[in-house]
Amino acid sequence: MDLKDKIVSSYLAFEDHLDDISPLHDIRNEAIKIFEEKGFPTKKEEAWKYTSLNSLLKHNYSLFPKHENAIEYKDIKPYLIHDIDSYKIIFIDGKYSSHLSETTHDGLDVCLMSAALTKPKYRLVIENYFNKVATKDSLSSLNTAFSCEGAYIHIPKNKLVEKPIQIVHFSTGNEAALMLQPRNLIVVGENSHVQIIERHQSLTENPVFTNSVTEVFAAKRAIVDYYKVQNDKETASLIDNTFISQKQESHCSVHTFSFGGKLTRNNLNFFQNGERIDSTLKGVTIIGNKQHVDHNTLVHHIEPNCESHQDYKGIFGDNATGVFNGRVIVNKEAQKTNAFQANNNILVSDKASINTKPQLEIFADDVKCSHGCTIGQLDESAMFYMRSRGIPKKEAKALLMYAFSNNVLSSVKIPEIKQRITKIIANKLGVNIGFDL
């Protein structure tokens, strides 16, 4: 039985366990129908032209891991930003780990999707927001059908959340192969500010296939800074579907740091439902071996006087492959839009490749939209210059690559994350120099 059939047939058993009167019942049924009809995307679809899921679909994944694996704090500490005070929502093989997490209901809700989906006091928020911005594509629908666990974050208005919130999904290798479908909902009230760090981490070499959906709602003048750290094992694959709905004068930023994993696909979608909105999408991708990272972004400018800034840097070595597909839609009504997009890439090996495709659909006439993409090699004259000052080849290369990605890092607002990313880059490049530029 192929993976799709297995998923569809296990859906019935899954639905049986759930509360029938749940308002989600119809949403789930509709979602599984969409998935059943469309199946996993193939290269025949334009949006998946350069990314094939075939190698992922051949494993016999467990969809519902049976037993919990005992994990201690010391096992996961390296994957957390542990030198800052933060809320933590930690999942082990898809199940919430209360002893590793640090949640709150004190003035804001930082807790679990499973609780939010079942407890009456959350019903209104769920009804108003759950699955309201996620699109009806096959993978998001698949997640919707099975969604039962993930992070639920609800920030009321006028709240500055001082501690960042870390959402981390671990897989332990307890199952020979595991498929995870985390579902996060983040609702941020007027004038509130929150910082979120998300990571998916496999602790063994057993294959993991994560199909995650995150919905973010930013109310008027809310500020949301989201950091995605992707540095997983080369047997772990991630499809990260993120949908952000912004109201007027809100500022949302997503920084995606893609350093690892077998296949990583980021479907990052911004919808601007108000005026004077600012959306920022930034990314650094540094991969090698046979890794594949695909950034598929969408910024939909719906109303006038908004801005969007996209800046993605990629460094590809060995046989690594990258994709950048940046779509910007400017509606007819969205006059005075400022939309910027840049995608710069360095290929450090003859066998590495990148497909980059800006896609601008502009229906308004008084707008400023720019895009630019470059693909190049490391600057040889800069290499010689640095080496002539005593900086060895490897270190010079690393320094140049770091400098190349520096303007994405410079907008990271949490210093500890910047330090961590810098360290990961140094490790990735196999050097031991303290980048501090």
Partner: protein, 250 residues
């Protein structure tokens, strides 16, 4: 200190250096002059270890050791410094951090620990004062948006930081106004000692009024065709290079 014997070098199969012989002893200043395309910058790059240049014949000895097989960074660790004619812009790397990395990598190669931060700061302050460099300048991206004069001053600042045994100044005077020229030359002179040596590559005699050479060599068509005392530079300034070409041709 430096001994070059019958050096032939080419780039992309085009022969540029065609048998250079040169000996530089500690404490000496040598000027290499010559018309455009005579091979001056190539000679500088070959000594510094630029990989695009192929040494076809001959040898370069630094303190008796053949450095032909050494990478550029290894030559730097042994005390060779090249002040670039066109310093490369490196966005995203500040002058300070570039220097910190260069110094600590050089120390690492010598088996030393990183220089303590306070010592590094002191060194940077001292050397930037020597070159009359503004502190703000040090936190800017390396050479990015620098004026011609700032780039050259920054080169000599790096030289001051690294304290090389052999410094090669490739057209350091080009693009400098008279004040910057004086500052740069003053910096070089203060760094001079009986243990180190300087090779000044230049078109014009102007810089040599400030950095006074012990020997002047004329490079023409990939060969040193004439050597002499510092007065030779004045003669070249007055008469140009044509008489040398004729003399060689004759």
């Amino acid at each position: 200190m430096l001994k070059i014997n019958n050096l032939h070098a080419s780039v992309e199969d085009k022969a540029i250096l065609k048998g250079i012989n040169l000996e530089v002893k500690p404490g000496e200043v040598h000027a290499i002059m010559g018309p455009n395309g005579s091979g001056k910058s190539t000679l500088a790059s070959v000594i510094a270890g630029k990989e695009e240049y192929e040494v076809e014949e001959g040898e370069i000895l630094l303190e008796g050791e053949n450095i032909d097989e050494l990478a550029a960074e290894e030559r730097a660790h042994k005390g060779i410094f090249l002040s670039f004619q066109y310093p490369v812009e490196i966005p995203g790397v500040s002058v300070t951090n570039f220097m910190k990395t260069a110094i600590n990598e050089t120390r690492k190669a010598k088996g030393l620990d990183d220089m303590p931060a306070n010592e590094m700061l002191k060194l940077i302050r001292e050397k930037s004062d020597l070159l009359e460099i503004d502190k703000k300048f040090l936190s800017r991206s390396l050479n990015e948006g620098f004026s011609g004069g700032e780039k050259k001053r920054n080169e000599i600042f790096q030289m001051a930081m690294l304290e090389p045994k052999l410094a090669i100044l490739d057209e350091t005077d080009s693009g400098l106004d008279i004040d910057a020229l004086r500052i740069v030359a003053n910096g070089v002179n203060k760094l001079k000692s009986k243990d180190n040596a300087v090779i000044v590559i230049t078109h014009y005699q102007r810089l040599l009024d400030y950095i006074v050479p012990d020997f002047v060599h004329v490079l023409h068509n990939g060969k040193i065709v004439k050597s002499g005392p510092k007065e030779l530079a004045h003669e070249l300034e007055e008469k140009g290079y044509d008489w040398i070409k004729e003399e060689v041709g004759a």
